[in-house]
């Protein structure tokens, strides 16, 4: 073989191997300044041509590319001038790139900086984000091969006139017959003399089960929040609400003038000693929704029965009624938790593959009892709850 052919073949093989390796390793990510350059040529018409190798180079220096605005009142604007200096030997070209969606990059005062010169780039931001802390960025595209994209960042935090921390009262579980208290802090960032003018519970039908009290938040705690004043609200849910989920709302007014009234949601759940959980189960309605099931596929629901309180450890659960009989119901092994104060019993309800078409969607259409819903009754030895009833909504089609 001629030498030139060997050389050519070697180059071809090498290039192929290299290309493959690169595609595997670097892929779509964009990869290096040279990759960046290629991407820019093909993708972003705004990117200035990078200074060619071997020629005099610009050099971008930004005095503090990240700036902290500190605190900002919501709805106000702040601006900052970033100083760009060209410490290279060739003119530095600047083009405004993209910004994160919530800040504004002003038109560049200078789009070219001579060697040794400087220019200002102004970033403006209006404090209207939903959170407290913010970070916004803007990109400046340059012809500097070392820094073709310069990211400018502003940070800070937004001060509202008032903050509610946390934003709601949530009672994850209250055992029936017991009471429970939760706390919320009202923090004033503008008023030293802060007080609640009046309050009411918006859902009158259950208002009698809720009791609210307030006290001033100590100064050391206020300092931690950087607040000027504050109230600690303690809300107690008293016994008497029915088993299941509950919702209420507390409306109040204060001498902080930015809003007519504030509303704090109140949500929670009253638990009986026996409860069922799992996908598709509505504890409030006592219905397991399995939806429309393909006969060829069947469907399985994994639930669990939880037993709490003094009867948990000795609980016995058996399967009573199953309707329609095609439903397959299985109880798993008991697991004692919390030293036996809680017991978990897995419960599987399955529509087997090959089940013939049927409708149990809660209408009379199915022609079955309980308005067409399926029904499972679990028997227990609990002194108050002898039966656990599970209604099952489903339809089987082909």
């Amino acid at each position: 073989m001629k030498t030139s052919a060997v050389v050519f073949s070697s180059i071809l093989v090498g290039a192929t191997i290299g290309f493959g390796s690169s595609a595997v390793e670097l892929g779509w990510f964009g990869s290096s300044q040279n990759i960046e350059q290629l991407l820019s040529v093909s993708r972003d018409a705004r990117q200035p041509d990078l200074a060619p190798a071997g020629a005099p180079q610009p050099r971008t220096v930004v005095d503090r590319p990240e700036y902290d605005f500190g605190s900002m009142d919501r709805g106000t604007k702040k601006t900052h001038e970033f100083v760009f200096t060209n410490e290279g030997d060739a003119p530095l070209k600047l083009v405004a790139g993209d910004t994160t969606c919530k800040c504004t990059l002003s038109k560049l005062a200078e789009d070219e900086i001579p060697p040794g010169g400087l220019a200002m780039v102004t970033l403006e931001w209006m404090a209207k984000a939903q959170g407290i802390d913010f970070r916004q960025t803007a990109t400046i595209l340059t012809n500097d091969p070392v820094s073709p994209r310069v990211q400018l960042t502003v940070t800070g935090w937004i001060v509202n006139a008032m903050r509610i921390e946390p934003m709601d009262f949530v009672y994850s579980s209250i055992l029936a017959g017991t009471e429970k208290t939760a706390e919320v802090r009202l923090l004033s960032f503008t008023q030293d003399d802060f007080h609640i003018l009046n309050h009411r519970f918006l859902r009158a039908d259950t208002a009698k089960f809720f009791e609210i009290s307030e006290q001033n938040i100590p100064s050391d705690e206020l300092q931690a929040f950087q607040a000027k004043a504050g109230k600690l609200l303690r809300l107690t849910v008293k016994p008497g609400l029915p088993i299941g989920s509950f919702e209420q709302e507390l409306e109040f007014t204060t001498n902080v003038v930015d809003k007519d009234a504030y509303v704090i949601p109140i949500r929670g759940r009253i638990l009986g000693e026996l409860s069922i959980v799992g996908s598709g189960w509505s504890r409030d309605r006592g219905i397991l929704s399995l939806g429309t099931v393909d006969s060829d596929q069947g469907k399985r629901a994994q639930l669990a029965v939880y037993v709490r309180g003094e009867h948990a450890r000795g609980i016995e659960i058996t399967i009573g009624k199953v309707w329609p009989p095609t439903l397959q119901v299985t109880l798993g092994e008991h697991k004692e938790i919390k030293g036996g104060r809680v017991v978990r019993v897995p419960l599987t309800i399955e529509i087997p593959r090959g089940t013939p078409p049927m409708i149990h969607m809660g209408s009379q259409q199915g022609g079955l009892e309980k308005g067409g819903l399926g029904e499972i009754i679990l028997k227990t030895n609990h002194p108050q709850t002898h039966d656990l009833r599970i209604r099952v909504r489903f339809a089987v089609g082909t």
Partner: protein, 546 residues
């Protein structure tokens, strides 16, 4: 400290091979980039316009033709990623504080948004396809709200993380406000029967219940990654759940760190605490190489903060799942690690598996229904009922003509045409139908319930701003006995007025007009980040009866 310090020391490794690959691969990458570039396409705004008739009572004769919009280029917007990265020996992919955003945050146009499990899964698959050995960890904070929909969402999120291949997931305070038995149900029903939960100081029911592991060690690329998680002391105060055992984070770490240190080459702490508390933990436990903290801003910093004289990295991942952090580990003395903040923008396609997950999620919402989601509806505080925009349009013809030209008129149909459809999702409906409380995701009793049952309340109708019209309509149509004064009183109850300077955008900084405030219930920072009342108002400007 044995191999773990290789994370800091490193060895000269793959640099040469990488540079060769890099040089020859320029062409390949350019081709890939050129192929990927989406160019100019029309977006969902076209679909919106086609929907106009579907929301009837209006025809589409007057619909406004949307302007073609160029898709945002993700790399122009958010920059290239993994620049100069050779393949790492092992890599950590870190996410957290998704806060209920299973999909990209907001509905301002998918090319304008970041986040979503579909894109995250695609990233993981692409890194895996490139042979990167990955450890996947999540700080926790899957949900933001409380209630049945939050439970379904949490279950969906954990199921998705399991399917993506996560190794460990921590808890955020909002997760722990959900019923504990539901959290357990999610854990024990994962396909391989192994809980993803890891926490040194949180136990479901109790620390020894077995549903949560205090630590976990994962070996990837020959590196043993030791993982633990804590819930910060301040976060504990946000939880009111008697079915949890939560201990002091520092005390809990003192118990687990020595054993974890023995078993690990690299140690990572998922600290669900604000950055201040996380820094304190970092100083107390310098054994950790990486501490992932909660809190901070929605958008995380470009680079991690170095603490303990650069020996520990403090990583933020931001909020709403918009970003993940990837840390590559190398046998390289000069560069033992590389860091990349990855914006989950539309450079990543949706994964089919996660798309199916979203279909299942929406199907479950449909199957379970509003009542079982605890959304039976509350009476409107005014005592009035919603009548639908068609009733308004019978007299207010000119205002109705303006309304017909806006996307508000087909807001509900937009949800129906999405894939999967969202008309059963309360979080979407609250701004895409009439008679819901936008920021509470809660319906009024007389508000929209379904496409057929309350067809007159499709669209984001007049009454969402003006209030329910039942009394006003009844009075105007002579269905109730009112005198002139009563008639006028009912008209006045429906009126809302701009404040001086509001329409022109000339209000002082910090002052938001009354009408603008109403708009911003839906045009919020997630769903309409560029909302500017003065710019939008000319398109919707109307006066009761002209």
């Amino acid at each position: 400290m044995r191999r773990r310090r290789a994370f800091r020391r490193g060895m000269l490794g793959r640099l040469t091979r990488s540079r060769i690959a890099w040089t020859v691969g320029l062409i390949g990458s350019a081709l890939v980039a050129a192929t990927f570039h989406p160019g100019t396409e029309t977006t969902e705004s076209v679909v919106l316009a086609e929907d106009l008739a579907a929301d009837g009572p209006y025809d589409d004769a007057t619909k406004k033709k949307p302007a073609e919009k160029k898709l945002i280029d993700p790399i122009e917007r958010n920059g290239p990623i993994f620049v100069d990265w050779p393949r790492p020996q092992a890599a950590l992919l870190i996410s957290g504080e998704q806060l209920g955003y299973l999909e990209p945050c907001g509905c301002a146009g998918l090319d304008n948004q970041k986040g979503g499990l579909q894109r995250r899964h695609t990233l993981v698959k692409q890194l895996g396809d490139r042979g990167w050995p990955l450890a996947l960890v999540d700080l926790g904070g899957q949900v933001r709200r409380y209630g049945p929909q939050a439970v379904i969402k949490f279950r969906t999120a954990i199921g998705a993380l399991s399917e993506i291949g996560y190794h460990a997931v921590g808890f955020g305070p909002q997760d722990l406000r959900l019923p504990t038995d539901e959290l357990v149900g999610v854990a024990v029903n994962l396909p391989d029967g192994r809980s993803l939960y890891v926490s040194a100081n949180v136990g479901l029911f109790s620390l020894d219940s077995g549903f949560v592991e205090p630590t976990r060690v994962v070996t990837v690329g020959g590196r043993r990654i030791g993982i633990t998680c804590v819930l910060g002391a301040a976060e504990k105060a946000k939880i009111n759940n008697q079915d949890l055992e939560i201990t002091d984070p520092a005390e809990a770490l003192r118990k687990v760190v020595p054993a974890l240190d023995e078993k690990s080459d690299v140690m990572i702490l998922l600290s669900h605490a604000d950055p201040r508390e996380s820094r304190k933990l970092a100083r107390q436990f310098p054994e950790f190489d990486i501490i992932v903290t909660a809190g901070g801003a929605d958008e995380p910093p470009n680079m991690p903060e170095k603490i303990n004289a650069g020996e520990t990295l403090l990583v933020e991942v931001g909020h709403k799942g918009m970003y993940v952090a990837v840390i590559g580990l190398y046998d390289d003395k000069e560069t033992p690690w590389r860091y990349q903040r990855v914006p989950l923008d539309h450079r990543f396609d949706d994964s089919a598996e996660m798309q199916q997950m979203m279909v299942r999620y929406q199907k479950e919402l449909e199957t379970i229904g509003f009542d079982s989601l605890g959304l039976a509806g509350s009476p409107h505080p005014s005592g009035r009922s919603f009548v639908g925009s068609a009733a308004c349009g019978e007299c207010h013809t000119e205002a109705a003509a303006v309304f017909k030209k806006t996307p508000h008129a087909h807001a509900t149909a937009t949800l129906v045409k999405l894939d999967p459809p969202r008309q059963f999702d309360p979080e979407c409906l609250s701004c895409h139908a009439t008679g819901w409380e936008p920021q509470k995701y809660f319906p009024f009793k007389s508000g929209f319930r379904g496409m057929e049952t309350t067809a007159h309340l499709r669209a984001n109708g007049c009454e969402n701003c003006h209030g329910p019209g039942s009394r006003h309509v009844a009075a105007e149509e002579g269905d109730t006995d009112v005198d002139d004064e009563g008639l006028e009183r009912r008209r006045n109850a429906m009126r809302i007025r701009l404040v001086e300077g509001e329409a022109e955008g000339k209000l002082p900084d910090g002052v938001v007009g009354r009408v603008s405030t109403m708009c911003m219930q839906c045009h919020d920072m997630d769903n309409s980040p560029d909302f500017d009342f003065a710019k939008y108002w000319p398109d919707v400007r109307h006066i009761g009866k002209e």
